[in-house]
Homo-oligomer: 237 residues x 2
DNA sequence: GGAATAGTGTCTGTGAGACAGTATAGG
DNA sequence: CCTATACTGTCTCACAGACACTATTCC
């Protein structure tokens, strides 16, 4: 960045792409759109769009998220994931994309935005396995990185609560871990650990009603930014 | 990214900036350059430069690293850190920078590249505390994020070995943890834990000679990509 | 031998995993 | 009553932290 005029360099377009994850029908689901125009016309892709001239990266991601899902950023966890800029990743010109990871509670129906022909939820495992369709651009890699980030952050942050309604029960929180990690956890040990990890949960005092079985206490996410001790997955999961 | 021609959008310049960390004189040190030209002429900044038209982001970071330090990328750990693109972060025009984190064993003298007036090591703590100088652009934030990334990754990856010469002793590895975390660790417990964590270390069979005290066994980084169990810092460090 | 550093053993507390047992709801 | 779910207690093993002790070098 020293000694050069940036205007002397060939420009690049900058986009944001979103890995929006939620849990639907006990499966990890990712929001996908069908591209209406070339390149990759008709192909499935992650939602995203161009960063506007006077817009920061985070605000651009929040705007795209609102356009695609109708959700305000304050009810969704949104964090930067990584950037991707291999030459040729977009056949039109040099495009560098900054990917963001969004985690949301179970959402009803995707709200198609202006620049997406369709928007829909798909099971993340199916897409990652490439069973149905291959994603446009390098979006398969971006999705892979996003899912791995989510899995890793459940270990040492209270991020699982981002997948839960507010407030939530311990059992709902446990099902998030089981769904995202693809494992089963002992409900009794999980309950003990979640409630005894400082700052993980804030009790609301109220409980569920009308369900089967004994009513469950309701919690909100606690003040801790990091879990100590962490919720470790097994060794080589 | 749907339905728009990227050429219709105002372009941005894309740069890479480097947070190069090493350990010098038992302190965490960061590589800094003095800017030769505006903006922020004469100010201290992270090394970095423009991504070339047909160059990927990672290769651009590796090239800048070689230019600044003379080190090939295969002897240095290099990973993408985050991207920064607030409007106005560069007064000339819209510049989005992709920051990379590089960790290197103790390096002798910085090798000033073509686009840096000077390059030198500075104690990271001094710069983070803002005692001596304020960095150009948003580089203080980038450095903060880079140091925190390094601290966090020592916990659950074998990354501390990237700060060590090859091969290294357990004591050298321990001093990396102590220096980066700013703590002291029990040498005996650390030795037991490091040698018993599967895949963390590969014995070389040889030992140090000529030092004071009993010769130490020499190790190389083992095959594990993640440490299990991790080397946890205390609760609220 | 003494100093210094490397490495091992042992004890104790804490937490994870397994799982018996209790509590409170609906049918 | 039975079933289902929430929650608690107890046992055992593994590991972290504290620290005595042994091992091997240089002086």
């Amino acid at each position: 960045m020293q000694g050069y005029d940036p205007r002397a360099y060939p420009p690049a377009a900058v986009t944001v792409d979103l890995v929006v994850l939620t849990i639907r029908e006990d499966r990890l689901a990712v929001l996908l759109v069908r591209r209406a125009e070339p390149p990759f016309q008709g192909r499935i892709a992650l939602p995203g769009g161009f960063v506007r001239p006077d817009e920061g990266l985070g605000p651009a991601a929040a705007r795209e998220l609102a356009e695609e899902t109708g959700l305000a950023a304050d009810s969704v966890h949104l964090e930067q994931l990584a950037s991707y800029g291999d030459p040729g990743r977009d056949p039109r010109m040099r495009v560098v994309t900054v990917a963001y990871l969004a985690l949301a509670p179970g959402l009803p129906r995707p709200h198609a935005g202006t620049d997406a022909a369709e928007a829909s939820w798909a099971p993340a495992e199916d897409i990652l396995a490439g069973r149905h369709t291959r994603l446009a651009f390098d979006h398969h890699q971006i999705l892979t990185d996003g899912v791995e980030r989510a899995r890793a952050k459940l270990e040492y942050t209270p991020l699982a609560a981002a997948f839960c309604p507010r407030p939530f029960t311990i059992a709902q929180l446990r099902r998030v871990y089981e769904t995202v990690w693809g494992t089963t956890l002992d409900p009794r040990n999980f309950h003990r650990k979640a409630t005894r990890t400082p700052g993980f949960l804030s009790p609301t005092g109220s409980a569920t009603i009308g369900d089967r079985g004994r009513p469950a206490q309701l919690y909100r996410q606690g003040p801790a930014a990091l879990l100590y001790p962490p919720m470790l997955r097994g060794a080589a999961d």
